[in-house]
Symmetry: C2
Subunit: 224 residues, 2 copies
């Protein structure tokens, strides 16, 4: 029978070392030395630290530049704090409902995500629940959003006046992006294009706010 002294994968010691590297890196802007890891994790011998680092490297948790001082870094969690990864959940188009993320945390694949510099994020909208959709079709030109644009949304069912929202009008079977205003007995949906007229939705009509638009990104490719 196999020995089960440690739960086969990462032991407590491994995790502690990983955590220390991350926090040390945040604080000092550079990785710790072997001896510093040892002190922090109550390991009195550098060889033991080295022993664990070897394992962490084999298991893919860290990378090491041998022979180079402090030449180790975390691989998995992308410690670089300047970038924000937003999962891409699909497309948004006029005739289809908006694919919003399921309530539980589904592990999103990094392949299907886009990166945004956090300095570009508006108004500290840095909630971890943002998601992105790719615009399909030219049905949202009145929102100044073109085919192929990427819209970044924050899932919400409520909106404040002036927010740009993604709504599903089930009566009309239509998805649209508009600025949202609640008025006396109706909702006013104002296109982003100031030359275009708003549409009014009676409160009796179904209006499902699916998310708030935070950002639009357009990679300008060749005209087709």
């Amino acid at each position: 029978m196999m020995m089960v002294r440690k739960s086969k994968g990462l032991g407590e010691r491994h995790q502690k070392i990983l955590d220390f590297i991350a926090s040390y890196q945040r604080e000092h802007k550079h990785p710790p030395s072997i001896r510093e890891i040892g002190e922090s994790c109550d390991i009195s011998s550098t060889s033991v630290v080295n022993y664990y680092l070897d394992q962490l490297e084999k298991s893919g948790n860290i990378e090491r530049d041998r022979k180079i001082s402090r030449g180790l870094r975390l691989t998995v969690p992308t410690p670089l704090g300047d970038i924000f990864r937003v999962p891409m959940y699909g497309v948004i188009q006029a005739g289809e409902p908006i694919p919003i993320p399921s309530s539980d945390f589904n592990a999103f694949t990094p392949e299907d995500s886009i990166e945004v510099a956090i300095s570009l994020m508006p108004t500290k909208e840095k909630g971890k629940d943002l998601f992105a959709l790719k615009v399909q079709g030219e049905s949202m030109i009145d929102a100044m959003v073109n085919d192929g644009d990427i819209v970044i949304l924050k899932p919400t069912q409520e909106a404040r006046n002036g927010d740009m929202v993604a709504v599903w009008l089930s009566d009309r079977n239509e998805t649209t992006l508009k600025f949202f205003f609640k008025e006396k007995d109706k909702y006013r949906l104002q296109p982003a294009n100031p030359t275009m007229q708003p549409i009014y939705i009676d409160k009796s009509e179904a209006l499902e706010i699916k998310g708030k638009v935070v950002m639009v990104i357009r990679k300008v490719e060749r005209y087709n």
Copy 2:
């Protein structure tokens, strides 16, 4: 009279060291040592490298952790390789010419720049000469570009058919963003909004292409 051996600020050597640190960091994921800097920049003595690093630290270009191997990092240009810094050169609006960067390298202040994740850059358009402009006014709605949007441009005087260009029509005293097509005896400037009609510019008219639009970023704020 003052000595003018070096142009008072950062000399050529300083810049070379700064560049080397950035490229080394990108490649090795950790900063270079003093001796590595020396080899790369043709400085045979570590003391001279140290001498320059001291100056770069005093001038605020780098930070150093003394006594610690490779304990230096760039402060200003964000050496992390996943992000791209684009200088912001001003505003673009219909009635004014486009402020293109002066041909010589003018040191841009990081305050007036935006960061873009490198993974967002279209089609390897990662030339170092990109610049950004903030759109002022609602005169470019036919290009699907709204007031407050940020356009990222690549300076050029020529365009291929289908490129989206920023042009200055001196006859009309107008700046505009359009898709560019060269036809028999005229230029066709096609709005991004497919519901709008193109305008035609006779080749006798002055048409100055100032740059190619690479990307448009819109931070969606509250409607005003």
